[in-house]
Subunit: 219 residues, 2 copies
């Protein structure tokens, strides 16, 4: 539909705006615009308002950088969550995914991505410094790295590990006079074959890691 001539400039403008959204081509944009034309005016206004209000009103948590409606997110301000655990994730969707497991009672730290030189994303573009500062301030006993199992994720994991090492965490005390030194465990979520995946179709890296990371049966 290149060079499509729209019979209405208002329609054309709306299609153009919808078309800017990622993954929405011009045909889908037209389909959505025509769908909205068939809806009540109130419905379209509700959609439009929800977008603007979200953009204007949403905050990022000052502690973990998760999306929230206040200065601090519900998770960080929940006293029943375990503040000694910090799970480092790439984005807000990952927080939701982990929350949906109902298995985690600690806090989060949303990086905002992973280090990816190809995409021009360096450590300073991510919330790594604030993570280090958060750990430096104390109270954190374990940092759980839950980034994507990709080269970029691994690079970021390693970078964070090194940064935390620099501030003296994660070091095994070498002398008795260092026993009082603050120690923070850095862990990474298990990599292995996914539930219901078939072994024969699992790639060799995953299978290798699953073997290397085997745990006692029944444990």
């Amino acid at each position: 539909m290149i060079n499509t001539r729209y019979s209405s400039q208002l329609l054309e403008k709306a299609v153009m705006e919808i078309n800017r959204l990622p993954g929405i081509g011009s045909k889908t944009a037209l389909r959505l615009a025509l769908h909205l034309l068939r809806q009540d005016e109130e419905r379209v206004e509700a959609l439009a308002e929800s977008l603007v209000e979200m953009r204007r009103g949403v905050h990022y948590c000052q502690v973990c950088h998760n999306i929230c409606d206040d200065e601090r997110c519900e998770i960080c301000s929940n006293p029943s969550r375990d503040a000694s655990l910090v799970c480092v994730v790439e984005n807000v969707q990952d927080v939701m995914a982990i929350e949906n497991t109902m298995q985690y009672r600690g806090l989060y730290h949303v990086l905002g991505g992973v280090i990816s030189p190809m995409d021009g994303i360096g450590p300073s573009d991510l919330q790594i410094e604030s993570l280090v500062e958060r750990v430096r301030q104390g109270g954190v006993e374990e940092v759980i790295l839950a980034l994507s199992p990709t080269m970029e994720g691994d690079t970021t994991n390693y970078y964070i590990y090194r940064k935390l090492e620099e501030i003296g965490v994660n070091q095994v005390p070498s002398a008795s006079d260092r026993r009082e030194e603050r120690k923070v465990k850095v862990t990474v979520i298990a990599r292995g074959i996914a539930q219901n995946d078939e072994l024969q179709y699992t790639d060799e890296v995953t299978l290798g890691r699953a073997l290397a990371g085997r745990v006692p049966f029944g444990g």
Copy 2:
């Protein structure tokens, strides 16, 4: 992502609204909402405004029911178009598709769908009466039926044909005293194999119609 707990109610509301759009699931809705969160506030406002302005401002052409910004669409109000030709289509996208061929200089009549008892769409839900009235008023020499080649499209074609017959068009004059009677030709767009389609994979109905509708080579 059923029962996902959103950390922001503003985000949740926006996702819910986006999720109402046809063909946009909850994961895509979340992805789009988070994309909008990363955009400038002006961009989100521009999108929201374009939707509301379109819904408020768009008219339907009083003649052909195409979408337009005024009482009458650009095509109907263009004096260089051939007003003796009326092409009957299902929807606005079909008008655009035919306009894109650059082969048609007549006018349109947008039905707003096809007769489909399964979906509860009867003739009175469509712009058929206004088409008949338009033909009755004179000036139309040919009505081109360009509906979808489906059972519903065929049914609608036949219904329109019968309705036009009722008002006396499309009748071959049977006596010399009826020579002056208004005649309107009713035609239907050719059905056959599509450009670049392979014959062996063409369904038998299409192939049968293509054979029956063969034309002199080079014509």
